[in-house]
């Protein structure tokens, strides 16, 4: 019975495809894998026959008959095999109509919201085709079909009526579809891994359609992964079109506002730097991840208010070239200088444009004798792994700067494995968790605040999703030096930094308390977890750690 249910939903998926996909007139792929040869054009027929057979098999007589007396020829030809079975058991019954199942799928698809911005945008065309089916007894969906505004993982109740009812209602179970979606994505990745591009192509289309039937976070993640896989399969562009740093900064700003990950990163790193600077009169921070400089106001304020008064604060910001003739780094520096002036902290700023961190030479940085140096890197070091030798070069350059402390914030995941399928699986889990947490932060979590989500925060959420989507695209679709999102776990970074001559500095309990408090402020704060791991702080969503802050000093 279970197999029939799966095949029925499968049939509808394939039937959808045949209606508007003229090229695919051959044998159905998925059933072929199972060993059955069924022409795609016959699928509707086969499904109906299976339904009918199921109904007929409801009484025991039929089963025993089948088991003992029947002779079946060529069982791989499902269509005729079923026909022979049905005619043996019950020669006079009409085959039932199962058009209502198609309608329910259509309703689920429509209810699931707007089609994703991928090449699969056939929902409306699909519905029109359905109307053309000469069918009777189109059932309105009597069971509840959850709309996309509800949380992910909701499922329409699936019911299967084993009685020989001429109009069985088969409703697509979206939770089961969710499982199928994941399996399809994995199968597609495996096909890509094995260079079986034809199969991969079919699977990615299938996955695209399944993705539409989902709701919430699952749908968004699946859509991004489908798009990334499609890019990889079709080699749509040598690399995804390079966005201007200004746009990337904008996306990161929205990500900063929507969820606590970046804030957590900044606050914990600042706490480590603050403690390293205790009692020092002249301090110099070298920031590898300048962007908009959002990390530094909080540090400057903490320095301004520390007992004994603020030190002289010097900041060197390193960033990529702006591309549009504006000196973005310098502008950020001006704003920080304005803030420093307001809170009476002596401030000096220097911006360095570098295509890659590996181009940096410590001699350029004007390091002064009496200064205490801190080096800060938030989500920057992993990009160096794309070029061999780059990260070692940068770490030795950092050692030459003789920092009091090096703060590193990185994603806690291994997206740099040698095998594509492993990377794919890891990143699927990682980004699903991330999107889950985004979803709850938008809904005002916990139900305590309640109320409607303002359009502005929706926009923030969407921009954050785009920001993450670009990372997904890079992990899945790119290779070689273009693949810069080479995340690695804390253990891997630890061994790297150990061999480069650094040892870990424990982040104190102050950092832990501040981080916990910060997370408590966020809607959905119950889902976020701060964990301490050998002196490093990890921020995670429920049981999965997502980013790690660690601090290092020269051994």
């Amino acid at each position: 019975m279970k197999r029939n249910h799966i095949i029925t939903s499968d049939v509808t998926g394939k039937a959808k495809k045949t209606m508007w996909d003229e090229e695919d007139a051959g044998v159905d792929e998925l059933l072929a894998v199972l060993g059955y040869k069924v022409k795609s054009s016959d699928m509707v027929d086969v499904a109906q026959k299976i339904e009918h057979l199921e109904g007929v098999l409801g009484n025991d007589d039929g089963l025993s008959l089948l088991a003992s007396d029947s002779v079946h020829y060529n069982p791989s030809d499902l269509s005729s095999w079923l026909e022979s079975m049905i005619s043996e058991l019950n020669p006079t019954t009409q085959p039932p109509i199962i058009d209502d199942s198609f309608m329910n799928i259509a309703n689920t698809a429509i209810a699931a919201g707007n089609p994703p911005p991928s090449e699969v945008d056939s929902t409306s065309a699909f519905v029109d085709d359905l109307q053309a089916i000469p069918g009777n007894a189109i059932y309105p969906p009597t069971k509840k079909v959850k709309s996309s505004s509800s949380s992910a993982g909701a499922s329409a109740s699936s019911s299967y009526n084993p009685n020989p009812n001429p109009n069985p209602v088969v409703i697509v179970d979206s939770q089961e579809n969710g499982i199928r979606l994941v399996h399809t994505l994995m199968a597609c990745a495996e096909a890509v891994q094995q260079e079986n591009l034809a199969l991969a192509e079919n699977l990615v289309k299938q996955a695209g359609m399944l993705a539409v039937s989902q709701a919430g976070a699952m749908r968004k993640v699946a859509t991004y992964f489908v798009e990334a896989l499609a890019r990889r399969i079709y080699r749509l562009s040598p690399k995804p079109p390079q966005d201007s740093p200004a746009f990337q900064d904008l996306l990161q700003m929205h990500f900063y506002e929507t969820c606590p990950y970046l804030k957590f990163a900044h606050f914990t790193a600042n706490q480590a730097i603050l403690e390293a600077f205790a009692g020092k009169k002249k301090v110099h921070v070298i920031d590898f991840s300048m962007k908009q400089g959002m990390q530094w106001p909080a540090l400057m304020q903490a320095l301004a208010l520390r007992p004994g008064g603020p030190p002289t604060f010097r900041l060197t910001g390193i960033g990529p070239p702006s591309g549009d003739n504006t000196d973005h780094l310098q502008e950020v520096g001006w704003k920080l200088a304005q803030l420093a002036d307001t809170i009476h902290v002596e401030f000096e700023y220097r911006g360095f444009v570098a295509e890659s961190l590996a181009d940096l030479e410590p001699a350029m940085l004007d390091l002064r004798e009496d200064e205490v140096v801190a080096v800060n890197s938030v989500f920057e070091l992993h990009q160096l792994l794309a070029r061999p030798g780059a990260v070692e070069k940068v770490l030795s350059a950092v050692k030459e700067m003789k920092p009091e402390i090096l703060t590193v914030v990185e994603q806690e995941a291994n997206h740099n494995g040698l095998v594509f399928l492993e990377r794919f699986t890891e990143s699927l889990h990682y980004y699903s968790t991330l999107f889950d947490s985004l979803e709850s932060s938008g809904n005002g979590g916990g139900g305590v605040d309640g109320g409607a989500i303002s359009p502005a925060s929706n926009q923030d959420k969407i921009m954050s999703e785009v920001y993450l989507g670009k990372q997904i695209c890079n992990v899945v679709a790119c290779e070689g030096p273009d693949r810069v999102e080479r995340h690695e776990t804390l253990t891997q970074w630890k061994s790297r930094l150990d061999s480069a001559g650094f040892e870990a500095v424990h982040l104190g309990s102050n950092a832990f308390k501040q981080a916990s408090m910060l997370l408590a402020l966020f809607a959905g704060g119950d889902g976020y977890r701060v964990e301490e791991n050998n002196g490093c702080l990890m921020l995670g969503w429920h049981t999965r750690s997502l980013i790690t802050t660690s601090a290092w000093k020269i051994r």
């Binding site: 929507t258 106001p297 502008e331 809170i343 109320g451």
Partner: protein, 173 residues
């Protein structure tokens, strides 16, 4: 708040000023007393007090009242904070933008929704909460600088910058 006024009215009934015709006490003539009273009320009441009349409004807008509101339960009161906070926009703004939402969120997490708004300020809050609020306040000021660069920081007005949106209640009270 109005109740206190009436009590004082009855208590000081005999100590009338020469200015009053019928010997009734008027709080507006004893502003030091008014300020003493206002130093003990919560944020919501301060806001209501500002709506009473122009004189009260100008008194309530005095930042030191809000400083008292922010830090009267923190012991020891943090030193050196005043110039920083004043420069970043003042204690009233600090309270509205950071302190009130932070305290109400943290209280809610701890107790789970019990108590009303007035309970929020009466609890003692600790060093870490102070530091966190100040940091968030500074970040918010910087964001207004970033956003309002061309138009001038004044254009941002009283609405908090977007980095603190997560603190705002979705429904306006």
């Amino acid at each position: 708040m109005v109740l206190i006024h009436e009590n004082e009215d009855q208590v000081f009934h005999n100590d009338d000023d020469d200015d009053n015709d019928n010997g009734r006490f008027c709080i507006n003539d004893n502003l030091d007393l008014l300020i003493e009273v206002l130093q003990r009320v919560d944020g919501r009441s301060l806001g209501s007090a500002a709506c009473v009349c122009r004189q009260w409004c100008s008194i309530v807008r005095n930042d030191s009242l809000w400083e008292h509101l922010c830090f009267r339960h923190v012991s020891p009161p943090p030193v050196g904070v005043r110039p920083v906070v004043s420069a970043l926009g003042g204690y009233r703004r600090l309270y509205m933008v950071c302190v009130r939402p932070v305290l109400s969120r943290l209280k809610r997490r701890r107790i789970g929704g019990g108590g009303g708004e007035s309970e929020v300020v009466r609890r003692v809050w600790n060093q870490h909460e102070v530091e966190l609020s100040l940091s968030l306040f500074c970040v918010e000021y910087y964001e207004r600088l970033l956003v309002g660069g061309g138009r001038g920081a004044a254009a941002a007005g009283d609405s908090p910058a977007s980095s603190l949106k997560f603190l705002c209640k979705p429904v306006n009270v």
